[in-house]
C-alpha cells in the first residue's frame, strides 16, 4: 500500500520540475521584456555632446564660442558633508539651496550621479578642485558654455537654453532629449541644425552602481560625435560695437548692409543687454529680469519693430513715378493744391530738389499721378486699380512681406492694397483722397528697419538686391545658404536711380540732415524721415549709403521718439558709415554730440501716462549700457579696436 506512495512522490517531483521548465521557457524564450530590461540595466548609452559651432565676424574675429566649464555632480549615497556651512561658503550657495539640491538629487537616484551645480567657471573650478577631494560623492564633469566675445548682438545671435517641454513634444524627428540645449532665438535658432552638429553615442557596460565597465561589443555600435559647423557672418564686429555704443540712451535700430552682397555688416537693437547673462546658470533669473524691463530689450527691433517709413519712403515714390513716366526728372510742382504743408525750403522745381528738401506737397502730386495713371474714368475704381499696381511695384522692394533674413520672427509689416482699404471703407467707397498720406510714407504703411536698410541697398545698387543675411558662410567662408545668392530685381531702370541719388546727396550735404553730420572726402547719399507717432514724439529715421558713386555700405537708422530724422538718426548713421569706411572716427564733434543725446525720457513705456523727463529718467533707468563692458571684453580680443568715445 504505502509503496504506491512513491508514485505520488515522484509525480510531485516531476510536476514541480516541469512547472519550472515551463516557467523558464516563458521567462527566457517567450517574454522578451527581460532582454530589454537587461540592456537598460547594464548597457548605458553615453551621449557625446559635440561642440556647438562657433560664429565669426567678417574678419575672422570670434563672436560666439564655447568656454569649458565644469558641472558639479553628486552621488547622494556616497556624499558625506560634515560641515555644511563651510561647504556652502566654498561653493557660494545658501544652506537652503544646498538642502533643496540634495533632496532633488536624492529623489532622482541615490546611486547615480545627478547635477548639483551647473557651469562652474574655470576659475571657480581651480579654486575648489583640491578642496572638493575632501568631500566624497562629489565629482566634476566637463561641459561647455556659450560665450560672446562682446556684449553686442544679443538679439541677433540669440541664446541657447535647455529645451522646453513644448519643444520636446513638437519635434518631428526625435533628436532632443530632456536637458538638451537648443538655440532659442536669433542665429542660434535659425542655424540650430548646422550649429548643433551630430551627437555621438557610446554604449558602455556598467555595473549596479553605474560605474562604467568597458565598451560594449568592443564599440561596434558606437557613433562618433561630429562637431557643429562654424558660421561665418558678414558682421564687422568693430563697427557693430561702435554702433551699439552710439545707440546707448536711445531706443531703436541700426541695420547696415553691404549692398553688393546683402551681407549685414552691423545690426543694432537698442536697448540691448550682454548676451553672456543668458548663457550662464543664472539664465532664468536674468531672463525674467529682461522680460520685465519696460524697454523690452528682448524685442528684436530691426526685424520685429514696424514703423511708418515717413519721408524715406518718398524715394520709392519718386522711383516708381519715374519708371511709370508720370514725372520726368524736370517735373516741378508748386505747394498749391495739396492738403499737406511743407517745411521752409527753396522752391522744388525738380525731383532732385524735392528729394533734397523732402517736399511733402511735391510727393502728394507724384503719388496722385501714380494712382491715377490709368484710363479708368471712375475715380474710385481708378484709385483701386492704381493702388494695386503701385502695391505690386513697392512689393518688389521687399516691402509688405518677409524678406527672408536668417533671423527668426521677422515681421511682415504692412503694404496696403485694394482689399485692405475695402475692409476699412467698403469696396468702391475710397479713392486717392482717402489714402494720400501713403505718398509721404505715412498712413497704413508699416516697415521694419531691416527693410528700410534693404531699400537703401537697392538704391545703392541702382535697382537690385540680395536678401539681407547675417551668415555669409556655413561651415566655410563665402558659402551662404543658396537663397542668399539670388539676385532680386525691382524692375526700375538704373537711370532713374541716377536721377534721384543727387537729391539724396543734396539732402545730406545741404538739405534735411544737420550740418554736423558730414564725413570728410566721402559723399553720402541719404534721406531722412520722421515717422508720425500717435502716442508720443515722432520717430527719427535715416536711410542712406556711401560712397554715393561706389556704395560700400547701405544703412538704416531708427531712433524712437528722436523726432527729426536729420538730427537723431542721420548722425548715428553717418558715424557708422565713417567708421566702416575709414576704420576710425574723425568727426569727433559729431560723435560727442550723438553720445550726449538721450532720447530715453521721450519713450513711453507701459504703465507711465506721459513721458515727462523726470519720471522716466528716475523710475526706469536705461538698460545696461554696452559701452561700459566693451572695454573689458574687447580688450583681449586681437584684431579688435575697442570702441569707445575717446577713440
Amino acid at each position: 500500500m504505502l509503496e504506491n506512495r512513491r508514485f505520488i512522490i515522484i509525480g510531485f517531483f516531476i510536476f514541480v520540475g516541469v512547472a519550472y521548465l515551463f516557467r523558464l521557457f516563458y521567462l527566457q524564450v517567450l517574454d522578451e521584456s527581460y532582454t530589454i530590461e537587461s540592456s537598460s540595466n547594464s548597457i548605458k548609452r553615453v551621449i557625446e555632446i559635440p561642440f556647438r559651432g562657433q560664429i565669426y565676424d567678417r574678419y575672422g574675429n570670434l563672436i560666439v564660442y564655447n568656454t569649458p566649464v565644469y558641472d558639479l555632480l553628486v552621488t547622494p549615497y556616497k556624499a558625506k558633508v560634515q560641515d555644511t556651512l563651510t561647504f556652502c561658503r566654498l561653493l557660494g550657495i545658501e544652506r537652503r539651496d544646498f538642502d533643496s539640491l540634495m533632496t532633488a538629487a536624492r529623489t532622482y537616484s541615490r546611486v547615480k550621479p545627478s547635477l548639483f551645480l551647473r557651469q562652474l567657471s574655470k576659475e571657480d573650478f581651480a579654486r575648489i578642485q583640491d578642496i572638493m577631494v575632501d568631500y566624497p560623492g562629489f565629482e566634476f564633469a566637463k561641459s561647455s558654455l556659450r560665450t560672446y566675445s562682446a556684449p553686442v548682438l544679443a538679439n541677433t545671435m540669440g541664446y541657447v537654453s535647455e529645451i522646453t517641454k513644448g519643444q520636446m513634444e513638437k519635434q518631428e524627428v526625435e533628436y532632443y532629449r530632456q536637458g538638451d540645449y537648443i538655440g532659442q532665438s536669433g542665429i542660434e535658432k535659425y542655424y540650430e541644425e548646422q550649429l548643433r552638429g551630430k551627437r555621438g553615442i557610446r554604449f558602455v557596460m556598467q555595473n549596479v552602481s553605474g560605474v562604467a565597465k568597458g565598451s560594449w561589443k568592443d564599440g561596434e555600435l558606437d557613433t562618433m560625435a561630429i562637431a557643429g559647423q562654424n558660421l561665418y557672418t558678414g558682421i564687422d564686429l568693430m563697427v557693430q560695437q561702435y554702433a551699439d555704443s552710439l545707440m546707448v540712451n536711445k531706443v531703436g535700430s541700426v541695420v547696415a548692409i553691404e549692398p553688393k552682397t546683402g551681407q549685414i555688416l552691423a545690426i543694432v537693437s537698442s536697448p540691448s543687454y550682454d548676451p553672456n547673462i543668458l548663457a550662464s546658470r543664472h539664465f532664468s533669473k536674468n531672463y525674467s529680469m529682461l522680460a520685465k524691463n519696460p524697454y523690452k530689450p528682448l524685442f528684436n527691433r530691426p526685424v520685429m519693430a514696424s514703423y511708418r517709413p515717413g519721408s524715406t519712403f518718398k524715394l520709392i515714390q519718386a522711383l516708381i513715378a519715374l519708371q511709370d513716366g508720370v514725372i520726368t526728372p524736370g517735373t516741378g510742382f508748386g505747394h498749391a493744391g495739396s492738403p499737406m504743408k511743407c517745411h521752409n525750403h527753396p522752391a522744388t522745381s525738380t525731383i532732385v530738389s524735392a528729394v533734397q528738401y523732402s517736399c511733402n506737397p511735391y510727393f502728394y502730386q507724384v503719388f496722385k499721378r501714380i494712382i491715377y495713371n490709368n484710363d479708368t474714368k471712375d475715380t474710385y475704381k481708378a484709385s483701386a486699380e492704381g493702388l494695386n499696381r503701385w502695391n505690386e511695384q513697392v512689393s518688389k522692394f521687399g516691402i509688405g512681406q518677409r524678406l527672408g533674413v536668417d533671423l527668426p520672427s521677422e515681421y511682415k509689416g504692412n503694404l496696403p492694397d485694394e482689399t485692405y482699404y475695402d475692409k476699412i471703407y467698403g469696396a468702391d467707397r475710397w479713392k486717392f483722397s482717402n489714402v494720400y498720406s501713403l505718398s509721404i510714407g505715412e498712413g497704413e504703411l508699416l516697415i521694419t528697419p531691416l527693410k528700410m536698410a534693404n531699400v537703401a541697398a537697392i538704391i545703392a545698387n541702382r535697382g537690385y538686391y540680395y536678401t539681407p543675411h547675417v551668415v555669409s558662410g556655413v561651415g566655410e567662408k563665402n558659402k551662404p545658404l543658396p537663397e542668399y545668392t539670388v539676385k532680386h530685381e525691382t524692375g526700375i531702370e538704373a537711370r532713374h536711380f541716377e536721377t534721384i541719388i543727387p537729391g539724396m546727396v543734396g539732402a545730406v550735404e545741404a538739405g534735411t540732415v544737420m550740418g554736423l553730420a558730414r564725413i570728410k572726402d566721402v559723399q553720402i547719399a541719404g534721406k531722412t524721415g520722421t515717422s508720425q507717432n500717435k502716442i508720443g514724439k515722432d520717430h527719427s529715421i535715416f536711410i542712406g549709403f556711401a560712397p554715393a558713386d561706389n556704395p560700400k555700405i547701405a544703412i538704416a537708422a531708427f531712433v524712437e521718439n528722436g523726432v527729426w530724422g536729420g538730427t537723431a538718426a542721420a548722425p548715428v548713421a553717418t558715424l557708422i558709415i565713417e567708421r566702416y569706411l575709414k576704420r576710425k572716427t574723425e568727426n569727433k564733434p559729431l560723435e560727442s554730440y550723438v553720445l550726449s543725446r538721450n532720447y530715453m525720457p521721450n519713450v513711453i513705456v507701459p504703465g507711465t501716462k506721459s513721458p515727462t523727463k523726470k519720471d522716466t529718467a528716475k523710475k526706469k533707468p536705461p538698460v545696461t549700457a554696452p559701452i561700459a563692458t566693451t572695454k573689458k571684453d574687447g580688450a583681449n580680443k586681437p584684431g579688435l579696436t575697442v570702441a569707445s568715445s575717446g577713440n
Binding site: 517531483f13 527581460y34 537587461s38 540592456s39 556598467q206 552602481s209 568597458g214
Partner: protein, 427 residues
Amino acid sequence: MARNQTLTQNLDWIAVLIYILCVMMGWFNIYAAVYSPEVPTSIFDMAHNAGKQLMWIGTTILLIIAILVIDHKFYDTFAYIIYGIVLLMLVAVLFIGADINGSHSWIKIGAFSIQPAEFAKLGTSLALAKYLSDPTVSLTRSWKEYLPIAGFVGVPSLLILVSNETGSMLVFAAFAIMLYREGLPGIIPAVGIIMAILVVMTLLVSNWFIVAGIVIIAGLIIWFMPKTTRRQGGLLATLVVAFIMMGVVIGVDFFINNILQKHQRSRIMVLVDPDSDPRGAGWNVIQSKIAIGSGRLIGKGFLEGTQTKFDFVPEQSTDFIFCTVGEEHGFIGAAIVVVLFMGLIARLVILAERQRTRFARVYGYCVAGIMFFHFMVNIGMTIGLMPVIGIPLPFFSYGGSSLWSFSILLFIFLKIDSQRPYTLSRT
C-alpha cells in the same frame, strides 16, 4: 566478505555521473559569476571563489573516498552519536559562532569556517532512519507516534532558528516527504500546502475574492457529493473545512494589515510581490529574473553575462548561482540543470525503494527530499515562483560546507546502496 571488494563496486553510476556533472558545472558557473572582463583571472586563482571552490572539490573527493572506505554499518550503528555531535555543534555555535553575513551560524576552525546547520540535515536524517528502522515503530496507528519524530526534527530546527538561519530551518520541512512515504496521512502535507497557498493568495488578491472562491468550491463539492457521503457527515466536514479556510484568510489579512508595522508588512509583501518594493527587498528577485530572462534560448555565452557579472544580482556565486546558468547558457542550459536535478532526485527515489532495510529506505527518502527541497526553493526563488529564502543550490552554489554536506549526504546513501546485495532484508 565485503573486505575484498573494490571501493566503487556496485556504486550507482547514474547518480555518480549526475553528481560529477553538477559539481563541474557549478564550478564553471562560479568562475563565470565572479569573472570580471576588466581584470580577467584564472579559474585556478585561489584569491577568487572559483579557485577556492576547486579546493573544496578536492577535499570533497577525499571525504567521498573516506565514506566509501568506511563500512556501511557504521552509519546505522553510529546514527544517534552523529546526531548528538551535530546537536552539540548547533549549541556550540550559539556561543562560539562567528558572525558571517549577519548570521551567527559559523564555527571557525583555523582558516576554515563550517556551518553546523548544513550538517544538521545529515545528522537528523540518520537519526530518523535509525529510529524508524526499529520494527516496533509504526507511523500508522496513533498521532502519538509522531512525538519522537517531532523531537528529532524540532530540536535541531529550533537551534538553527535561534542562530538566525531561517532558510536552513525551513529545509527540515523536507522530511515530510519521507514521513509521507512511511505512513503519514496524506491529509497533513495536503493541508500544509493548501494553507501555504491560501496565505500567499491572501497577500496577492483581495480576500473577498478568496472567500467567494472558497464558498463556490465548497458549494460545488457538496452539490456533487454522493448523498450517502453527505448524510454521513460529509456536509458538515466540508462546511467546517470551508469555514476554517475563510478564517485563515481573514485572520492572515487582519494580522498583516492591522497588527504588523508598515515595514514588517512590506517585507512580507515582497516575498510574494517583488514589484511592491523594486529598489529594496524586491530588488534581488527582479534582477534575478532579468538576468535569467535575458539569456533567451541559448544564452549570452560563457563569461559573457552582464547582469550576473556587474553585481546586479546579489549573491551571484552562492544562492543566486542559477542566474549565471540562465543568463550565460539560456533556456537550454537552465533546462539541462533542471533535468539533471529531476533525474538525480528520481534516481534517489528509485534507489530508496529498492533498499532491503527500512533504515536505508528512510535515509534515501530523506536525501531525496532534502535535495528536492533545496532545488525547488532555490531555483523557484530565482525565477520568481518562490519567496527569497537563502538556501544553496546543491553542488552548484559556492561554499565548502554546503558542498561537503550534500556530498556526504549523497555518498553515504550510495555507499549503503552499493552494499544492498549483501544485506539481509528485515521488512
